[in-house]
Symmetry: C2
């Protein structure tokens, strides 16, 4: 005869129910929807649970209900400052809820993303947050089959899988470059690294603005697929100076590059903004402290994270947003590094 498994000594719902003098299902209801119980039973279950130090078994709950309270989050990088702010928003928004975050790193690979998406599929998450809008067709198919709220973050575009929260990188770059043009800069360089989809769209915005002013010149554009860094900013700028010695401004795809350019200018005794204007992107905290203070495009990274999680949670409870696409916008923070050039 099969002997019983060694009891773990763990307190189960049944024990709580027994002590409270109710059936297990009533105790179960207490933890999921206390309102559904009569006051007296509610109190009895509550004190029984406290007395025994009951802690629900999440695995059992997930198996029985065929659901989890996990929100999956796919992020392309853990190093990039941009994503640490997004993550903070995500974790903060989930903190006080019953949902927990399952974070995975796609490392800027849409194939890796696809693989991780399939992994999530097997776990039946309650919701999903994915970065960007450039998933593979297979990834899209998986997401569409997943039957849970999904928010794409960081940028917005047509045809959301489900919901979106972000802003237009194209427009943001357009506005930043237009500002430089308005400040009378003419030979405005573009410095880009990593060149992920969002950076590509910033390049498009740059191109649009330059072309509209009749200033577009391919020699003004310099990009590299390698990851971004401050030192890479200096290197790119040095190369740009060879490629187009007459540039009078640079639009950098992010603030690390911009800081690297500033340092390179200091090294070469190039005055900013008199001889070289600098504009960055993201408006990391240090931009306002630099000497001179560096112009940048402020983006609402924390809010992207927190809004995404709020949207997922609301959607799980059946509350869909009025619009599936939320534009969090951006703000050009104009500082001394891009003030009007010497006439």
């Amino acid at each position: 005869m099969g002997r019983t498994r060694a009891k773990s000594g763990k307190i189960r719902l049944t024990e709580v129910a027994k002590l409270a003098g109710v059936s297990p299902i009533t105790a179960s209801r207490f933890f999921r929807n206390p309102e559904a119980l009569s006051i007296s039973k509610r109190e009895r279950v509550e004190s029984a649970a406290r007395e025994l130090g009951y802690v629900p078994d999440l695995a059992a709950r997930a198996l029985a209900s065929q659901r989890t309270e996990v929100i999956g989050v796919l992020i392309p990088s853990l190093t990039n400052n941009v994503f640490s702010d997004v993550l903070r928003g995500i974790y903060d928004a989930s903190q006080s809820s019953r949902y927990s975050i399952q974070l995975v790193n796609t490392r800027y690979s849409i194939l890796q993303e696809e693989k991780l998406l399939r992994l999530f599929q097997a776990q039946r998450p309650a919701g999903l947050v994915v970065t960007g809008i450039n998933q593979t067709p297979q990834s899209r198919a998986v997401m569409e089959a997943m039957n849970c709220p999904i928010v794409q973050i960081m940028e917005i575009g047509p045809d959301p899988v489900d919901m979106m929260v972000g802003f237009s990188h194209n427009e943001a770059a357009f506005e930043a470059v237009s500002h430089l043009i308005a400040q009378n800069y003419r030979r405005i360089g573009f410095l880009g690294a990593r060149m992920d989809p969002r950076v590509q769209r910033r390049l498009e915005g740059y191109r649009d603005a330059m072309a509209a002013a009749g200033l577009l010149d391919p020699r003004l554009i310099l990009t590299t697929p390698v990851p971004t860094s401050v030192s890479m900013g200096g290197t790119l700028f040095a190369d740009m100076l060879i490629q187009a010695p007459d540039i009078d401004a640079v639009f950098c795809v992010n603030d690390d590059i911009a800081l690297g350019v500033l340092f390179e200018c200091q090294r070469r005794q190039i005055s900013v903004p008199e001889d070289m204007a600098i504009v960055g992107f993201n408006d990391l905290e240090f931009m306002a402290s630099a000497v001179p203070a560096l112009t940048s495009v402020r983006t609402n990274r924390y809010e992207m994270g927190s809004t995404a999680i709020s949207m997922v949670m609301s959607a799980i409870e059946g509350k869909r947003p009025s619009s599936p696409v939320v534009d969090l916008g951006f703000e050009l923070m104009i500082r001394r590094s891009s003030l009007a050039r010497r006439q």
Copy 2:
């Protein structure tokens, strides 16, 4: 009569077993320990699983086995650059394994940490990574009751809960300050923010070095509990200049503060290092690019993360490290910002 629950249409182990012509338990064994099957059954199960597109149900597995393959990670901050490197190490090391990471944010609160530890306790993680060595007694008790490998990271000290990987912040600061003294600086300020336990230990190291040289002066120490930032570096430095106008060097508890000091020096036309030496901590990437290049203490953050996960995984498989405490050390990166002062 109780009707059967709506079948989810999901492929279960039983289906795979049926197609392969084996019992469910044999199929189960295939996924956990293929070697235990005869070659023929192994192949049959494998092809059956592939044919049906079987994906194991993690909740069922966790419930039946009373184990999970989750490694819990408790980190005090998601914004701090230091932790993004650690996290990258953690995620990279776990990537190719069967373990998944469950990350939570303690926000530098040991009470929050305690709460999250209890939450983890209910989830029976396969292992745990916690930040620092200053847990509450209750947290320690929970950890000791958890019966899974635990690694404390970021610093080392006596009396590990289980294992540790980090370095001595005290020694690192001592070495950095000693370097300044050796370079003939005498009025060396200490600038600190947030003042978490590791920063406190850097302050101790500073004190030890200054006292050993007979240079300790409380007016040289300036700290604030508010979070660290580049602008805070500038503010602290400005305050320090009022408090001790004769300082000739500053040891900053991190690189953000150091960069803020550099900017403030630029703003005030204070020459670095001629009139003011600067030393930071962590050696973030930008330190080498700054003008002048900034001295800092390089710490092995990525390795702390990856080593911690490797240690946890090995311990789960029964392979304990030769020593429970791993010292990853540090390296003083001496750059122009701290070169010998004007004699």
